[in-house]
């Protein structure tokens, strides 16, 4: 009698396990693997993709993958520097923004444009963004297709921040129904006052080109201590290191001097 009881118990346990397995399969088919996703499911997936893209933009613009905005500040507005356009100082290749003019105090403006810096950021992010961007990986469990368009990076240097935008049309389309959702622009705002310090740099160059010097103390006082301007004189050049009291971001550049 006892062995029979044991058999019944065994069958019952096996039966329960089979039921649980069937239930689990049905659950994952509909919920985890999104066999037939509706618009809400697709929107949820799109949100995850959006977060992934935004994180990737940030990683590329100011993270482990790249720091073009920080580098631009350290290198006087240029990421790629041609021969004789910079001076190595404390391991940084700091650009000359004003070249020496022989036998005069004044210097020749190299005219750094905001749009050139924006282009440098765009080029750098465009090259690196592929190393973290992988929207197709979101498709592996889903019952939907991810249709993507061409990728276009944009950068906008504002007074208090730099906005990096990725124009990347993405459509998630259900494989079994007409449900689909789309998104196009993704961005990350990097809170570095590059635009503001660029304006200060231009003011300094204005003075250097016209008078051959700049009184940083008077300027700092005039601006009520908002900016910190250090002027160093590694012979024969002048190095300006600019920052704002409310931010660790640094913009530095050289004004070329004339050797005696």
């Amino acid at each position: 009698m006892k062995p029979k009881k044991g058999q019944v118990a065994l069958f019952a346990v096996v039966g329960i396990l089979i039921l649980i397995l069937i239930g689990f399969t049905l659950y994952t088919r509909t919920n985890v693997f999104l066999v037939n996703p509706g618009e809400d499911d697709l929107n949820a997936e799109l949100d995850s993709i959006r977060t992934h893209i935004q994180e990737c933009i940030r990683e590329t613009a100011d993270g482990d993958i790249g720091k073009p905005i920080v580098d631009i500040g350290f290198q006087g507005g240029y990421l790629k520097q041609g021969a004789d356009t910079f001076r190595l100082y404390n391991d940084n290749r700091i650009s000359y923004l004003c070249y020496n003019m022989e036998n005069t105090e004044q210097c020749m403006n190299r005219m750094l444009l905001k749009e050139d810096m924006e282009q440098s950021i765009i080029d750098d992010v465009s090259i690196n963004i592929g190393s973290c961007l992988d929207v197709q990986s979101f498709r592996q469990f889903g019952g939907f297709d991810i249709i993507t368009g061409g990728m276009n990076v944009m950068a906008d240097i504002e007074k208090d921040n730099v906005k990096v935008t990725l124009d990347y049309p993405i459509t998630l389309k259900s494989k079994r129904s007409d449900a689909s959702v789309s998104a196009r622009q993704f961005n990350a705002v990097i809170n570095y006052p590059l635009g503001d310090l660029y304006d200060v740099a231009n003011t300094i160059i204005d003075f250097e080109t016209e008078f051959g010097d700049f009184d940083q103390f008077a300027y700092m006082l005039q601006k009520k201590g908002k900016y910190i301007i250090e002027k160093k004189k590694p012979y024969p050049d002048k190095l300006y290191i600019l920052s704002r009291r409310d931010s660790p971001y640094v913009f530095q550049f050289f004004v070329q001097g004339e050797p005696e």
Partner: protein, 477 residues
């Protein structure tokens, strides 16, 4: 002979080496740099180069470079570098003493910038509702900075006399050291650190050109905005901004004098109201609701009776449209009777501003002056679908107030069924800056996210956006 040939070859080789190492001004280098004095080998052979310094050449001569897009001027800029961009124009005057480059003081939101007029225009255009204020008579940066400083308020101590005034009206220029003559920025004249015989918070009253009720000291100097919590209002004898002051709870608030003209309150004699201290309160500007006009500030009576009566008629819209113009009407929807009348006088676009998804949120954000505001707004919203004109459900979102609950907004939108939904960020411009900060403005990316949430929970889809204005537009599918 052989010796001569060898000598000749050595000389030629020497010249070649020297020539190869010679520096020159390259109009453009192989690295893409313009006007660089460098080794001649670096010069791009498709451009000019001369073995003299760049400023001596015709192509890299320095002058003024004007960028019309940014309104920016670059002094002592080489010609070829400047002209490499079609948006730039080059001028021989290296110091940029040309009309386009003359700088003045640009005032945006109380901040001053010493820039060109074109730059001022470009910067101002980034902000909605900000009018360009460019002072071309201010010709130096320090004068521009001083322009903002002259209006700063503080106590002017001059011998026995103490007056709370603007810096520019203070004639003494002594050092700002406690107890001495001079201008004390942001300090009340009753502050114990000063040598003024003025006792704090003796009475309350109104100030010309100001909306609020103020405390006054015994010398007659205004202090901070009236707050029945005297200690908080006194702020240890220093100026307290409007934003940091108390908030009123409707008109006739006995405890707070931080009036909001835009919300219909203005400093006025208390009348029947009973402030905890003094004889002034934030009076009600909505005189129609009051029979007692004496309680209203004088300009209120005038505004209701004369200025707005004609404009308040919906026939005004017919008049506008009959002249071939478009009529945009923006309403907070708190007067449903008027909304109903508008059905027979429909504007081109009807905007209904909605400030919250619950009565509590709405009240906190819009501080309505009328009872039953929530029911009134709901009644107006229920009429939106009866309009044939463009109807817009307008959200002005402010952090910490109504920038929350997109699902709730989606429900309201679904029940009202407007043609469009405008999701926009509060902008810290105009009078709003007195009570809200720049940090209260949602970023455009946050507005985008909010609009997407509404899109997710409604039958509306995003069709357009404008980054500068931080606004996203949705349309009914």
């Amino acid at each position: 002979m052989l010796k001569k040939i060898i000598l000749f070859l050595i000389v030629v080789a020497g010249i070649a080496v020297i020539a190869a190492a010679q520096d020159a001004c390259c109009e453009r280098t192989v690295d893409g740099e313009w006007c660089q004095f460098t080794n001649a080998n670096n010069c791009d052979e498709n451009y000019r180069n001369t073995p003299v310094s760049c400023e001596q050449t015709s192509f890299c001569k320095v002058g003024c470079c004007y960028n019309s897009e940014e309104g920016q001027c670059f002094k002592s800029t080489p010609r070829s570098l400047c002209e490499s961009d079609p948006k730039n124009t080059w001028n021989l005057d290296a110091a940029c003493q040309i009309e386009q480059c003359s700088k003045g003081c640009c005032i945006i939101a109380g901040e001053t910038f010493f820039v060109t007029e074109a730059r001022c225009k470009a910067e101002t255009s980034k902000y909605e509702d900000v009018e360009m204020d460019f002072r071309e008579d201010v010709t130096t940066e320090s004068a521009c900075v001083a322009l903002s400083r002259t209006q700063e308020k503080g106590c002017c101590v001059n011998g026995d006399s103490c007056s709370f005034t603007a810096r520019e009206q203070c004639e003494t220029s002594g050092a700002e050291a406690a107890g001495k003559d001079g201008f004390y920025l942001g300090t009340l004249c009753s502050n114990d650190a000063l040598s003024c015989d003025c006792a704090r918070q003796q009475r309350t009253g109104c100030l010309p050109d100001k909306d609020d009720v103020y405390w006054f000291d015994s010398c007659g100097n205004p202090e901070n905005i009236y707050d029945s919590n005297k200690g908080r209002s006194y702020n240890q004898g220093y100026v307290l901004s409007e934003g940091e002051s108390c908030s009123i709870n409707g008109h006739d608030d006995p405890n707070c004098g931080n009036c909001e003209y835009e919300q219909g309150t203005l400093c006025a004699e208390a009348g029947d109201a009973r402030p905890k201290f003094g004889d002034f309160v934030c009076g009600n500007l909505q005189c129609e609701a009051n029979e007692d006009y004496s309680k209203c500030p004088s300009d209120c009576t005038q505004s209701n009776e004369n200025k707005f009566d004609e404009l308040n008629k919906p026939e005004m819209i017919d008049e506008i449209k009959s002249r071939g113009m478009t009529a945009y009407l923006v309403s907070n929807g708190t007067v449903p009777d008027m909304t109903e009348r508008l059905l027979n006088h429909q504007p081109t676009n009807l905007y209904i501003s909605v400030y919250g998804t619950t009565p509590e949120m709405y009240k906190k954000t819009a501080v309505p002056m009328t009872k039953g505001f929530w029911e009134n707004v709901q009644q107006t919203l229920s009429m939106i679908k009866d309009f044939s004109c463009n109807t817009v459900f307008r959200l002005t979102l402010t952090k910490g107030l109504n920038f929350t609950d997109p699902e709730g907004y989606a429900k309201l939108i679904e029940s009202a069924m407007p043609k469009f939904v405008e999701v926009k960020a509060f902008m810290a411009v105009g009078g709003s800056r007195r009570v809200l900060q720049y940090t209260d403005m949602p970023l455009h990316s946050e507005i985008q996210d909010f609009a997407r949430d509404i899109e997710k929970h409604s039958s509306y889809k995003i069709i357009n956006e404008k980054t500068d204005s931080r606004v996203v537009l949705l349309e009914r599918r």
